[in-house]
Amino acid sequence: MKTAAKLLGLGSAALAALFAVYYFNLDMKLVRSVVVPLLDRHYDSVHREQTL
């Protein structure tokens, strides 16, 4: 019974945290402010043989 209650509590906390990420748009804010700039810096540093 205790384990079930614990699992339920953990599940609810995880769901609440995920909802906070969703509602405050934290996923896209992270992608926009951190992930994409880092990836862009990498892409810009790669030397490309431009051909047409």
């Binding site: 995920l18 909802f19 969703y22 509602y23 405050f24 748009n25 996923d27 896209m28 804010k29 992608v31 926009r32 992930v35 994409v36 990836l39 862009d40 990498h42 892409y43 490309r48 043989e49 431009q50 051909t51 047409l52």
Partner: protein
Amino acid sequence: MWKRKISLKEQYGTWEHFIRGDEPCHYLGQRLLEGTNFYARREWRGVRDTAYAFAHWLKLWITMAGLVLRNPVRVAMAFWKYRWLSAYLGTPMMVDRWLEGDRGTALRADTAAIECMISETVDSLWKMIRADRRLGETKWTEKTITFDYTLPKHILYGFPGYEGINMPQYCAFMMPLLRKQLGCYYIDQTISCGIPGDMCTLPMLETGVAVDNEYPDVGNIWLTTNTPCDANMMDNNAMWRAISNEGQKAVFPFTIPMMYDDPTTRELGVHEIYEGIAFMEEHLGQKFNWETFVQHLENTNTFNKGSHERWDIYANTDFGTLNPVVQGMFRIYFYQHGGNKYFLKANRKLLKIFEKCVRNEIRPFPHARHRALAWSCGSTYNANVILWLYNCWGVLTVINMDSLTGHNLVDTEDRDLMMGDLADWYARTPMRTHTVGGNRHLMQMWETAEKFNCDIIIMYDDIGCKGMAGAQGLLEEEIRKHRDRFHVIWLPHSLMDCRIVPSSEGRKAVNQYMQNILHEEPIDPTLVDFDDEMGW
């Protein structure tokens, strides 16, 4: 720090409105971060619909994570190698834009269609990544066929065991939909090689990916095409070099007759399809399987019958349930893929939702004041402008030009008729029947607007399209003839390059018409004028 401009009390008034999410005005513009189209807070749609949208968001991330989990190392290598792939990280944001203002049945229908498109995309991206020689040759490399994305993949279903990838769609076309600046980046790569910058930006974007050598190296053959227009033919040389590895792969130019409604061209079209099949039989070493091919066409017919039913509902009632942007994108996606498992599943779901709306007389878009037809070639970076039109001004686009392609039913009983119908399908590719394949599109515009009981026509003005620029005078003349029946609003854009005509310019043209000609008040004043230049 983001702050509400409209207080909760002012927006919702009562607890009931807050819980149901049916307040008179959603004030969507106040949710955006300054200078962007990013939400500071995602939309509150009432308890039930917010929970539904949240579950859909979770499912979306799980689907996207599913791509990575199939082979984390290979997918990470692909992300490291291809700039265009990074755009897909913005998918949840694109979905937010496509669901703006949705409630109830509209939200359910739109998420069903979006789920279909995302599952299909994840599947195709994975098939492309697993077969890519640049990341290491695998057993899938030879089993994957690349083809131009304006060429529907129907005949590939006659080669079970092989997977068709409409490569430029994923590596180029989708970029401005997901992150508009990436469209500009690849266009600049093309211009840096000496291609003039005053032409259609779609082939320029595709060429830019080739210039950066960023097309995955997949399969041993490349099916190219002359559709939809002469601008797209410009990029065939660059695409040929990039995708066939300078001619190392066998290439079949799938030539589609320009005059789609000329009776003699149907025969030529059939001949071309048989040539294409013979080419593939020769290079794949496998006989064409008529059984799997016919089955696919029957599935495609099933989806199209569903589309016809939905269009009847749009045309004759206010119960059409897909919002304007999702309806258009869903049809474009379907045109390229045909009736595969994802589209059949979505078709079933959508029919149920549409039937429910008709049965219970549910109006999914209660703020609609006008019914509109969107004509000509729409923008990608500003694709959701037609949803903005509804949310801001109550102009509900019930049908658009791109939806009206690939909807003819194919006769699967008689092989000759079937191949003729298929040739017809190929010939009526996006834009071919409406903008570049003759002048009947002028008349079709009025006919379609009448059929769908529209009072407004949104006329997209892609300033880089030479085909439509040539017809501008004729169009203006026609518009004058029909001005007692329809309001026509020109909506300027530059297809793939958001710097030439920013999204705000398109909105400004509509605002001016709605305020100065129709003398109407906006439904959502926070959406009338906002700056989203730094957004995606």
